[in-house]
Amino acid sequence: MISRRNKDNKIVSLHGLTGFVVLCLYFAIASCTQERQPCLTPKTASLNLVCVHYPADSTPSATSMKDTALPKALFGALTANGAQYVYYKNISSNFTLSLSPDADSCSWVVSPDSLAHPLDTLNFYYQRKLQFLSNACGYTYFYSLSAVHTTHNNIDSVLITNPSVTNDANTKQLKIFIHPN
C-alpha cells in the first residue's frame, strides 16, 4: 500500500516515506565513487600475421599453401631507442606485431629461427587514424596498411590480406611466405 488515510482524513504513507529515504541515502552514497572504469578492450592495434609456404614440389596456388610453423621466431621492432626484440620460445605460425603511432612507417626484423642469420627486414607503410575507444581506455591509433616491403633472406614475399589494423585480435592482416627450403 503506497498511502492511506487515517480517521482524521490525513494522508499516511510511512512505507513509501521510509523506502524513499532509504533509497535516497543509498544512491547518494553509492554515486559518490569517482574511480575510472576499467579498460576492458585492447588499447593497442595489433597487426596479426600468419607465416605460410608453398611446398617445393607444388605449383603455387591457394590450395597448395600451408602454414609454416617457425621453430623459435625472433621479431624485433626498430624503435628510436634501438631494436626491441621479442623471442617466441614455442613453435608457432601466428604472430602479432604493432605499428609505430609516431610515424607513417616503421620497421621490424624477423628471423624464423633465433639461430638463423641473417635477419629479414619488414618495412610497413600506413596511414594513421586517431580512434577514441572509451573514457576508460582513452585514445589509440588504428592504421590502414598501404604497403609492406621485405628483404628476401628467409622470406619469399608478403601479402596484405586486410589493410585495416585495429584492436581486433582475431583478424589477420598479413601473410608472410617463407622460402620452402
Partner: protein, 224 residues
C-alpha cells in the same frame, strides 16, 4: 398495443440512455479529479554534485494532469563533467530537456488521491559543449604520442521508458522516484569523444543507460 418494432426502438433507446448515463458518470468523475500542476526537483543530484568532482547535474520537473490518469511531463536541467586522467583531459557542459507523458496504472480510490505507480515515455535532447581535448596514446614499445583536439558543440537525442512511484507526504507535498531506461538515438555523433557524463542522459559512452531520479515536488490544484 405497440408493434414489435416499437418495442425494439424503446429497448434501443433504453440502452442509449444507459450509455449516455455511463458517459456522464465518467465525465463527472473526471471533473471531481480536478486539475493538478506538479513542480519539483531531483534532490539527489545536488548532493552528488557537491561531493563529486567529475560530474555535476541539476534537474527540475513538472507535470500536468490531463485526464484518464495521463499526465503531460517535462524535465529540464543542466550539468557538466571534467575528465583529468593522465592520458585524457577535457571538460564538457550541457543543458537538456525531456518531454513526454506519464500514465498512472492503478485507478484512484477517490478524486483526491494523487499518488500511484506510473509508467511513462520521454524524448530527450541535450545541447553539449566540449572544451578542447588533450590526449596521450600510451605505447610501451614505440613510445607515447600525444596531441589535442579542438572544442566542439553538438547535440544528443535519446528515448526513455520510465517507471516510478509517487506518494503524497502532506497536502500538496509529493515525493517519488522514477527509474529510467534511456536509449541514445544519435550515437554516431558521440564517436570521436563520448562525454563522461551528459546531464539528463548519463554516461555518454553508453548507447543505453539505466538511471534513477528522486523527486520532491509541490502540487498546485484547482477545480475543473
Amino acid at each position: 398495443m405497440l408493434p414489435a418494432a416499437a418495442y425494439a426502438q424503446v429497448a434501443a433507446d433504453s440502452v442509449a440512455v444507459k450509455d449516455t448515463a455511463a458517459i456522464k458518470d465518467s465525465s463527472v468523475k473526471k471533473e471531481l479529479a480536478g486539475r493538478q500542476l506538479v513542480i519539483g526537483a531531483d534532490i539527489i543530484l545536488p548532493v552528488r554534485s557537491y561531493f563529486e568532482t567529475q560530474r555535476k547535474g541539476y534537474e527540475f520537473h513538472a507535470d500536468y494532469y490531463l485526464h484518464g490518469e495521463i499526465y503531460l511531463a517535462a524535465e529540464a536541467g543542466w550539468g557538466s563533467s571534467e575528465v583529468d586522467y593522465t592520458d585524457l583531459k577535457y571538460k564538457t557542459s550541457n543543458e537538456f530537456v525531456r518531454l513526454g507523458f506519464n500514465k498512472v496504472l492503478l485507478p484512484r480510490e477517490n478524486p483526491t488521491d494523487w499518488g500511484g505507480i506510473m509508467l511513462g515515455m520521454r524524448l530527450g535532447a541535450a545541447s553539449i559543449h566540449r572544451n578542447p581535448v588533450v590526449y596521450t596514446v600510451i605505447d610501451s614499445l614505440w613510445g607515447n604520442s600525444g596531441g589535442a583536439l579542438g572544442a566542439r558543440q553538438f547535440a544528443g537525442y535519446w528515448f526513455e521508458i520510465n517507471a516510478g512511484v509517487r506518494v503524497e507526504l502532506a497536502k500538496g507535498l509529493l515525493a517519488g522516484w522514477m527509474v529510467r531506461g534511456k536509449f541514445l538515438l544519435n550515437n554516431k555523433d558521440f564517436k570521436d569523444l563520448a562525454p563522461l557524463y551528459v546531464a539528463g542522459y548519463g554516461r555518454g559512452d553508453k548507447n543505453s543507460v539505466f538511471d534513477i531520479n528522486f523527486y520532491l515536488s509541490y502540487a498546485i490544484r484547482w477545480k475543473r
